[in-house]
Symmetry: C2
């Protein structure tokens, strides 16, 4: 047991990739295996993400299915899809045999319906097969779609000694034993135990006597995001999943939840920035265009709408030209305020942090917009004074801007709330959506109000 | 063990809060205890977040320190601060005794230096005290700042039977045993075991023979975010922390990592939306103003910059007024494209997903901007045709817009990359920062290029 410490920081270098590519080109299987076996499967997945897809398939076919099944799970979905296309259903079935039921079901769900059947029919372990088939029935965004069938279950009537004996059998299939779940004769979840409790207990004690009865659980149909929130809030590392009759069906572990939370955060962030579909910096130009262009077109239509509005005020260009100079400022303020308000609300809704009545929220947003708007309006008046602008015009601009800020804050606050109440993801109401509608609304309001104040 | 199942979905209702407030007002301690003891500490923390702070202090003083210590950890930091202000150092020391070392150190670190000393001197458990003092030395953004001293450690020379016997002692202090860490005589980490391995092994086997030697670890000085990424990537539920001599110092568990990841995601999201400091929808107007106004002022300066630029072109208002109508559109496009590009890069940097040379990235961004810009330019020309605009003007607007989009994409891509290379958080280069600089740059470029094409 010497020099076994490996620093956990893996660095994917161009040199390493070049080395792997050379070994593949030379078909130097022995060296390649030796090299790759030094790395964690998650690191090998990062290497494969960089290879062309024939090379990736070559590596997958070369290594043991015990390793490759884990690698497959770590790959980007689009790369995994391409690799699975090149594998026979028999080969996929072998990979699936090695995976926990939740990962196995996830991989199979990505295949065409026909290949799904082929792969399932070639799974040799009958229990594994039945469990995967059960998991495939659940929607991927529910607790059922996240859970694995692997868990350690004991009956309340067992003794500690008998329990330890039988657990040795069950635990072999379970990578990590977080909790031991206690069920009654009807397979209903009634409590839990930790391995520690079992070790500390006397061997002739009954399970029913040492089990903790305050066991948290989720229903198989619960929303995946809600499950993630609950596990994060209560610091749970695993949670059992039951059906409506309280029958124990599976368990969800925190590593899956970490993925759900990260994906959710990434998606919200991208929506706020005007990017649909989950794209990464290294995706193809075409994928990036599809994700970005629609939002830009939305913004363009907004801009063209402003062109129309301003065209309607063409005749005042000679008398009060300065109003036109301020339109980008007005649009920017309306956009920024709208994005700020919507982001806070979207995050609050995500964390169940938005309480109190709509009226209170309205008053608060108006108050906040008044404070911010007033401070900004002062700066605008000061600026107008410094550049020797007509003071009525400066005042008109400042007051209109303040009104625009208030309206923008209200739009930014209430559009997400309304969407959320209607069951639509409020995150779509951030970014370009709010900026665009606030741009048009802001510029329109700006000219109308300035007109009233200056008198045109 | 009947009807022990509690649905995990806790709903914080106005009724519940009103009930708690009434019980506090009536000083009905017994009822209040009965009511609150039905809830999980994380739920009680949510209730306290809604109470005024005298009431919160009342509840904290009423309940057992075993529960209240956990509640304190779950509270919003500003509320916890107010409550701790009302507790004596003796009372805080009692709370701290109940907490794991990592949480204990976090709470103490929030106190003034003087109170820190007082609290520490009143901790009765000497080992706990020494461990907390050690943890207080580490920066909160490092592995040392995240780790707890509670762990289960065995020596390689022990037997399985001896190990089980001694673990019973150690495990009592450890809430969750993820891994058992194996050390040599010099206290250096050399391997790990799971409780499962221990249960499955024969009782006379030596630990050295059954320990797994591929143990991952982090250095006590590693950055907290890097530790979070590593644990998420390798699906680790706990990781040991060592110093430069490989001495085992502590361990980090995944629940702390979930918090790091969430905070990081929330912070990036807020920065992208133009909000500094972590604020929530329910914070006070004053806190929200402080978080939002600076970014709005930045945006205002940007807008005033545009006023200057446009004023410089005042004389062409009569000849080509339409250019002025398009300025909000140009600003919107420059802003949207910049935010999209920066968001993808910031996310890519966070996930270590930005590979390849700067030149490749530059070519890709230009290519992407050309495709998007061309599609949008066509729409602008079409729009100009439909509203009967002078075709030279339409073309000038379309071409200038395309150039603005390319420049905006480059700014959005490279500003975060440059910041990251200089060790500055690239997330600050999203949102208002990018929109504002792109607004000014875009409008300037738009007038200059249109001038060249139309000839003014």
């Amino acid at each position: 047991m010497e020099d076994i410490q490996e620093n956990i920081q893996f660095q994917l270098t161009d040199d390493l990739i070049a080395m792997v590519e050379t070994l593949i080109e030379n078909r130097d299987d022995k060296q390649l295996k030796n090299l790759l076996n030094e790395y964690h499967f998650a690191d090998i997945a990062e290497i494969l993400d960089e290879l062309n897809h024939e090379d990736s398939v070559y590596v997958i076919k070369l290594l043991d299915s015990e390793t490759t099944s884990d690698i497959l799970m770590e790959l980007d979905e689009d790369i995994r899809e391409k690799i699975l296309d090149q594998l026979s259903t028999k080969e996929i079935a072998e990979e699936v045999e090695e995976l926990d039921t939740d990962d196995a079901a996830d991989i199979i769900a990505e295949l065409s319906e026909e290949r799904q059947k082929d792969v399932i029919s070639q799974i040799e372990d009958q229990e594994h097969k039945a469990e995967i088939q059960e998991l495939l029935k659940y929607d991927e965004n529910t607790a059922g779609g996240l859970m694995a069938k692997e868990l350690v279950k004991v009956y309340e009537t067992w003794t500690v000694a008998g329990c330890l004996r039988r657990i040795r059998g069950q635990a072999k299939d379970v990578t990590r034993v977080h909790s031991i779940y206690v069920v009654n004769k009807q397979e209903q979840l009634i409590g839990r135990l930790s391995l520690k409790d079992l070790i500390v207990a006397k061997s002739d004690q009954k399970i029913a006597d040492i089990a903790k009865d305050n066991v948290d659980w989720v229903n198989v149909e619960d929303n995946a995001e809600d499950v993630a929130k609950v596990m994060a809030k209560y610091d749970l590392e695993a949670i059992p999943v039951v059906n409506n009759s309280q029958t124990l069906l599976g368990r969800i572990t925190i590593d899956d939840i970490v993925d759900v939370l990260r994906e959710e955060a990434d998606k919200d962030y991208q929506l706020a920035a005007g990017i649909t579909q989950e794209v990464e910096a290294d995706d193809s130009i075409w994928e990036l265009t599809r994700a970005r262009l629609p939002w830009l077109v939305l913004g363009l239509f907004g801009g063209l709408g402003s062109v129309f509005i301003m065209k309607g005020y063409e005749e005042i260009m000679e008398t009060v030209p300065s109003l036109f100079f301020y339109t980008p400022l007005i649009a920017a303020m309306a956009g920024n305020v709208g994005v700020q308000s919507s982001a806070i609300i979207v995050q609050g809704l995500a964390n169940d942090n938005v309480k109190g009545s709509l009226l209170n929220r309205l008053l608060k947003e108006v108050g906040l917009a008044l404070i911010n708007g007033f401070a900004l309006a002062l700066l605008v008046v000061l600026f107008g004074y410094l550049i020797g602008q007509n003071s009525t015009e400066s005042l008109a601009i400042a007051i209109s801007m303040m009104s625009v800020i208030i309206v923008a804050a209200l739009v930014g606050t209430f559009v997400p709330i309304i969407l959320d109440k209607r069951g639509i993801d409020p995150a779509i109401a951030t970014g370009p959506f709010i900026t665009t509608s606030n741009d048009i609304l802001g510029i329109y309001l700006f000219f109308v109000l300035s007109g009233v104040i200056i008198g045109f």
